[in-house]
Amino acid sequence: MAEPEVNLTRKYDAVIIGSGAAGGMAAHVLTSHGLQVLLLEAGKKLPIEQELRSMEWPYDNAHRGFLPPDSHSMSFNEYTIRNPPYGPGFEKSKHLHSYIGSSDYLKNIVVDERENPFTGTNYAWVRARCLGGKTNIWGRLALRLSDYDFKAKTRDGYGEDWPISYGEIAPYYDKVDLYLGITGVKENLPYLPDSIFQRPTKLNCAEVTLKQGIQKMGRVLTQYRAGVTSDGLKHNKYRSRCYGRGACERKGGCDIHAAFDSPTGLIYPAMDTGNLTLRTNSVAREITVDPQTGKASGVHFVDSQTMKDYNVRARVVIVAASTLESARLLLLSKSRLYPNGVANSSGHVGHNFCEHVMGPGVAGRAKDLVGKPPTLDDGRPGGFYLTRFRNLAEKHAKFIRGYGFEGGSGSAMFPRGTDTHGFGASFKEEVRKNQGAFIGMGAFGEVLSRYENYVELDPVVKDKWGIPSLSFHYKFGDNEHRMAEDMKETAQEMFEAAGFEIVHVSSRVLTEGWSIHELGTARMGNDPKTSVLNQFEQSHDVKNLFVVDGSAFVNASCQNPTWTIMALCWRSCDYLAEELRKGNL
């Protein structure tokens, strides 16, 4: 299908590459400043409600909600025994998806690994190529960072501090909260600042037991802080308030858009200003530069369907293709002026790549709930978040930085505990009587930012559009493995403190990439020799080039990144609009 014609002969004030959390936010902020903006998105505009079908019962789906038989989604074992590119060895499947794409509802959202290959070390790289990117299916845990993260080097000597402090970004977190909606409970924790919360979701009984059980250890469990509007948003006609259908837990998306996604939360309202032009199916392959001025002049892209090439001009170029894709694009943009890729005089593009390590966790049963009549436990956007407790007041002997746990409890449409021993009537009885008593949690920990962990362009392998692929050089280090040991021990110790019967303790570390929180490939900093961007996510080298997604992060912290990506982006785009007005770009 041909793209509706958009005007590519005019010069836009700004062109944005990518329409996820970062690109959507840039579109919102810049159009609200009255700028004329073009948004390029590589993927399609999907009929997203028809894809997600959040309330479809599994028995009404041709494959019970699973992928159709011609498609395969990678398992943990397959990631362990195979190397990228993952296509070879899966010839029988027409489509191959990352581990996340195992449901019928995600098959058109998550990319086909064959069309989008990469090489190098193992990495469970989850990419969503469509309008809105990964925000269509994100987990919605929306957390702030604090000066424990921004000034982590000052605290423990490792890495670099961010060029901003919490005080500078706090007003922008507030703006994101109010514009998009977030639920949660105030806790007054210095290391996990509160947001401006709408009505919180509630804890169920096993979760309350855990909260109380760990209080004496000085540990904090709070309601899932979800990037979901529970009270509704008067200024947004595209999003409903949350009706507790629990679907976001099961399949990954909210078709009434109570959970934030970039199209309904940011892009459609931006289009309503009349200042935004959107072109989907537009795969950016190079940021073009003016050889006279050294400034960015626009974007060279290919139409994903017709394979035709286009150039578009703009006064400012904003890269928001997601951490790894943004790094790839900078590296692809080689010219006589910038032989190592644009914005890369430091040689740091693609480096300092970091994320979160996952895997260790615990599952158990609240004995007093076993055999109780069935309850409704999943009618909410999430269960609980157990906040960081390591390396706050005291230093841990074996590792630096911290981790938190995400978890939940109770009955679900597909019951937990189906790994119970036996079969037949006794098996069913076991599953039935335990379903409401199940509780589980898994950790997310900071992976240290290291120069040695990086991506570069592969000299040979290309994607379906002939664009060089990324090659990964990325591995967890000792600090991560020692932290993972501790995650397992503390998980068990806290379930014991709560009096739960422990069913399973896991120490298995999942494949690199599993957290889907890749960060840091074009970090900010005050020193142009060791950083790519300044504190406004503006290239040190090319003043009219901004990179506004997770690649700007200086470290990963242990909090989920999306709310911070958007707050930083808002701040940077306010600055950008002002600089443009002053004629400084």
Binding site: P58, R64, H421
Partner: protein, 114 residues
């Protein structure tokens, strides 16, 4: 249940999975002949349960194709059952997947224990 498994196998592109089922069904009959002198379908319900119990008690012995078959049979049966109308509504009496005015948490009912 049998319908669901039939559909998955019929549509499957995975020859290994099909082989596992063919070999598995054959080995179960061999086992049944050995223990009870009859094929599995012709054995009494008690004998059939006894045979499945032997397999179920040795699920860690995944080198044996009949054990792998049992694990796979159980996995698919469980998946099929708990995604069916009967499994979700009659067996588990699942209460969610509907529009809620507000989720009722533990605080509303008083803590379960402490």
């Amino acid at each position: 249940m049998a319908d669901y498994i039939d559909q998955v196998l019929r549509e499957s592109f995975d020859d290994n999975q099909k082989t596992l089922w063919r070999d598995g069904l054959r080995l179960i009959d061999v086992m049944s002949q050995h223990y009870h002198g009859k094929t599995f379908v012709n054995a009494t319900p008690e004998d059939r349960i006894a045979l499945l119990t032997v397999l179920s008690d040795h699920v860690q012995m995944t080198d044996l194709p009949e054990v792998r078959f049992f694990v796979e049979l159980k996995r698919m049966t469980v998946t099929g059952y708990y995604t069916s109308k009967i499994g979700i509504h009659d067996e588990l009496e699942y209460k969610g997947n509907r529009i809620l005015k507000e989720y009722v948490g533990c605080d509303d009912q008083g803590p379960a224990s402490s």
